[in-house]
């Protein structure tokens, strides 16, 4: 068990099929359950996964249903920046938005470029999550996610996954 406090947060993760949106969803689910929180999340499968738009929702707290109503999400993690506009209606006014983008702007990081430098664009999602975890408003701290990642990563991918998460975190705190 981590020392983290109980939380009530609703997170949207968006991207395109194949960009690791499902893995991030699972990672956040497990991060929540490790601190003893209730969690319910929703994923996109099937036809939508062939490179099409994909969005997951993660609701941590006392929720019974998996979808986030419009205007109630606290955080958006956009593995693909082109998907941001299609999810903005879900966000609160003061929501935190973390984006993988080559354009320099608030809470943006070119996660894909960093992932490629690390050896694989497949870990773009984790670079972005590491980056987000450095923000004071993010519900899980880097160390906590790191622990969860060690638990759920396939052993073959573990080393690269951890490097990606750490690199994203370091760039945010540098």
């Amino acid at each position: 068990m981590s020392t983290q406090k109980q939380i009530d947060t609703q997170i949207v993760i968006c991207g395109r099929g194949g960009q690791g949106v499902l893995f991030l969803t699972r990672l956040l689910d497990e991060s929540a359950i490790m601190i003893g929180s209730k969690v319910i999340s929703s994923e996109t499968h099937g036809m939508a996964m062939r490179g099409g738009s994909v969005a997951s929702s993660v609701r941590i707290g006392n929720y019974e249903s998996p979808l986030i109503p419009s205007g109630e999400a606290d955080i958006l993690i956009a593995v693909n920046e082109h998907e941001v506009p299609f999810n903005m209606h879900l966000m609160k006014k003061d929501a935190l938005v973390f984006v993988n983008s080559s354009i320099r702007r608030h809470n943006a990081i070119h996660a894909e470029k960093i992932a490629r430098l690390l050896g694989s664009p497949m870990v773009t999602n984790l670079v972005l999550l590491g980056f987000a975890s450095a923000h004071a408003g993010f519900p899980f701290q880097y160390a906590h996610i790191n622990k969860v990642l060690q638990k759920i990563s396939p052993s073959k991918a573990l080393e690269l996954n951890l490097r990606a998460l750490t690199e994203g975190y370091n760039l945010a705190t540098a």
């Binding site: 099937g46 036809m47 939508a48 062939r50 006392n62 019974e64 419009s70 998907e83 299609f86 209606h89």
Partner: protein, 604 residues
């Protein structure tokens, strides 16, 4: 890989269902893959090994086969589970209708996963109506946790009344994740035993009438089963004026809304765990207790229709809840607000658009469809169900009805044009290997028997790709990884009476194009018939594919976008009036080299 669950774990709805099946002494599970139900069977296979259980687990070739295999196990006194997507139940409907009459001995759990939306299906039909049609009970879980917990109940109910029981999760239950507490592991100690009873297991029409009467008796008893009665979220709320009746995931949305807006004291919330059969007493009395009732359910008005006096009842039937599409919080909240005369703040609208799905870079189907379009541009393209339905993006799919329909429809087009003396067009049917085995074989036999002429392209990628790469009967591997003698497609085709059979690698654009033209000639020749081309190349997902060539775009690219429009490969990117190849996405199939009209795309 799923592991043994000690106390609690976060599980996808389908995993939770699989866990419930494992825990309740089931010794046989069968399925045919289909979104959103696919992960149920693969999870059962994983759990079986993690728990060290003896179980027969199979990917059947279609839902009817899956249903009947599992049914015989229940005839033998053992517990079975058969899972499928909702349109799969249409394929198994014949078996279901009859099995309701014969009933079962060992518990028979049927899981039919509905897809309101629809997200990944050709209809958003409601399996609860099918339960009603077949006269079997149906449980409607509102979450992964409840889906798991319902399985013990379903098996008890099935054995108490010797009847198949339907569990009807929807996409938002199947593909939601939630903490789920594990249940007690019931060790299966039963031995299969078949007691002969021809009046039941082989009933002739005369005995069928008796069975039908028995079934009616069972249903009226099931309707009053204490554990499965509609109930109020808060007891003592029946002094309210208004009531919302809900089932499935819609109940969870309503509960979250009422909780968040502190409305649970303002309206009675009634949950229906078993939408069919409902007790008459409930259906009659509920309308006398409240001034106004709102029914919220997915996807068709099953509960609403059963209420006797609907004068003060609103829902999907009355049009107060939209009568098509998924129920989401954004759909429900304004409906509930209006029902309670609350002025809610307007919801932000979602922006329309987003990226449409397309075939993966390097997908062998893309190459095949490009060749079909090139060789026979004026043909009628009868399509089928699978990843390759996305061939529609390439303009090479004109119809998509249901599993196996491409072949029957191609035959139908042929006879339609011929019998009316209309100008004959080339007809090309395309179907994947798994779909062909599912329901294309009988279609082909019919087409040959009745003298149809067309080209059939079997897109053989040696897997069931769309639903997560499950093996097929031709792969030579079973659900649990053991090997089986693989079905040989060419021999099967010969047996169906086809004499024109050619197998070509899907990436061989020139080979397929010339064969298609040759096949077209054959279908028109005096002694011609149906020409079958097996376009064979393994799906890149899940196969050990290595990029062996690098493709580049030369300076002579005119930026005409021909490749973007007609080939639609995600690795081809149009930027600053030129085309580039995204090296990350490119699989190195080299097919696009044949696509560029000015030969600007080259192998490096």
């Amino acid at each position: 890989m799923l592991q043994k669950i000690k106390k609690e774990a976060i599980l996808m709805g389908n995993e939770a269902i699989a866990l419930g099946i494992i825990e309740n002494g089931c010794n046989m599970a069968s399925s045919y893959p289909g979104t959103p139900a696919s992960e149920i069977l693969s999870s059962i296979a994983h759990y079986r090994d993690a728990y060290g259980l003896k179980m027969h687990v199979e990917w059947s070739v279609n839902e009817k086969a899956a249903f009947e295999v599992a049914l015989a196990n229940s005839y033998s006194g053992c517990r079975s589970a058969v899972s499928m997507k909702q349109v799969g139940l249409n394929v198994a409907l014949d078996s279901l209708m009859s099995s309701a009459y014969t009933g079962v001995v060992g518990g028979f759990l049927l899981v039919s996963a509905d897809d309101p939306g629809p997200h990944s299906s050709q209809t958003e039909q409601d399996s609860r109506f099918i339960a009603m049609l077949a006269k079997i009970p149906v449980l409607d879980p509102c979450s992964p946790r409840e889906a798991h917990d319902f399985i013990a109940t379903a098996y008890e109910l099935s054995e108490k009344y010797e009847i198949p029981v339907l569990l009807r999760p929807t996409t938002r239950v199947c593909h939601a994740r939630q903490n789920v507490a594990s249940g007690k592991l019931l060790k299966n100690k039963r031995k299969a035993m078949f007691s002969k009873d021809p009046a039941r297991w082989a009933a002739t029409p005369k005995f069928r009438l008796t069975l039908h009467k028995d079934l009616n008796k069972k249903l009226s008893l099931i309707a009053s089963e204490k554990k499965l009665q509609p109930f109020f979220y808060k007891s003592g709320t029946s002094n309210q004026n208004n009531c919302i009746i809900a089932s499935g995931v819609a109940y969870s949305y309503v509960l979250d809304f009422l909780t968040e807006h502190h409305l649970l004291d303002k309206v009675a919330l009634c949950k229906v765990p078993m939408p069919y059969p409902l007790p008459d007493s409930f259906l009659k009395s509920i309308t006398t207790k409240f001034h106004k009732i709102l029914v919220i359910e997915e996807t068709y008005p099953v509960i609403e229709l059963q209420i006797h006096d609907r004068r003060n009842v609103t829902g999907r039937l009355s049009g107060h809840v939209p009568n098509a599409g998924e129920i989401t919080p954004d759909i429900i909240y304004p409906v509930v607000n209006k029902f309670l005369n609350i002025h809610g703040k307007p919801l932000k609208q979602a922006k329309a658009g987003g990226q449409r799905p397309s075939l993966c870079a390097g997908c062998p189907h893309r190459a095949t469809y490009f060749s079909i379009k090139k060789a026979l541009p004026k043909a009628i393209y009868a399509g089928d169900i699978g990843c390759y339905t996305l061939g529609i993006n390439l303009g090479a799919v004109d119809t998509c009805l249901c599993m196996g329909a491409s072949i029957n429809q191609a035959a139908g087009f042929f006879h339609s044009f011929k019998s009316t003396g209309s100008e004959a067009k080339p007809i090309v049917a395309s179907i994947g290997d798994s779909t062909f085995i599912h329901s294309g074989i009988t279609a082909l036999i019919n087409a040959v028997y009745n003298g149809a002429r067309f080209i059939l392209v079997i897109l053989d990628n040696s897997t069931t790709a769309m639903t997560g790469n499950q093996p097929t009967a031709a792969t030579g591997v079973r659900a649990d990884g053991t090997s089986s003698s693989g079905l040989q497609l060419d021999k099967l085709l010969e047996g169906c009476g086809v004499t024109y059979i050619k197998t070509i690698d899907s990436y061989d654009v020139q080979g397929i194009t010339s064969t298609l033209k040759d096949a077209d000639t054959y279908t028109r020749s005096q002694n011609g018939g149906i020409a079958v081309i097996i376009s064979k190349h393994p799906c890149l997902i899940g196969s050990k594919h290595k990029k062996t060539i690098t493709v580049t775009v030369g300076e002579n690219c005119t930026g005409c976008r021909y490749c973007i429009t007609n080939f639609e490969c995600p690795a081809l990117v149009h930027e600053n009036k030129k085309v580039f190849i995204n090296p990350v996405l490119c699989s190195g199939c080299g097919v696009c080299v044949h696509v560029c009209p000015v030969h600007a795309i080259k192998v490096q």
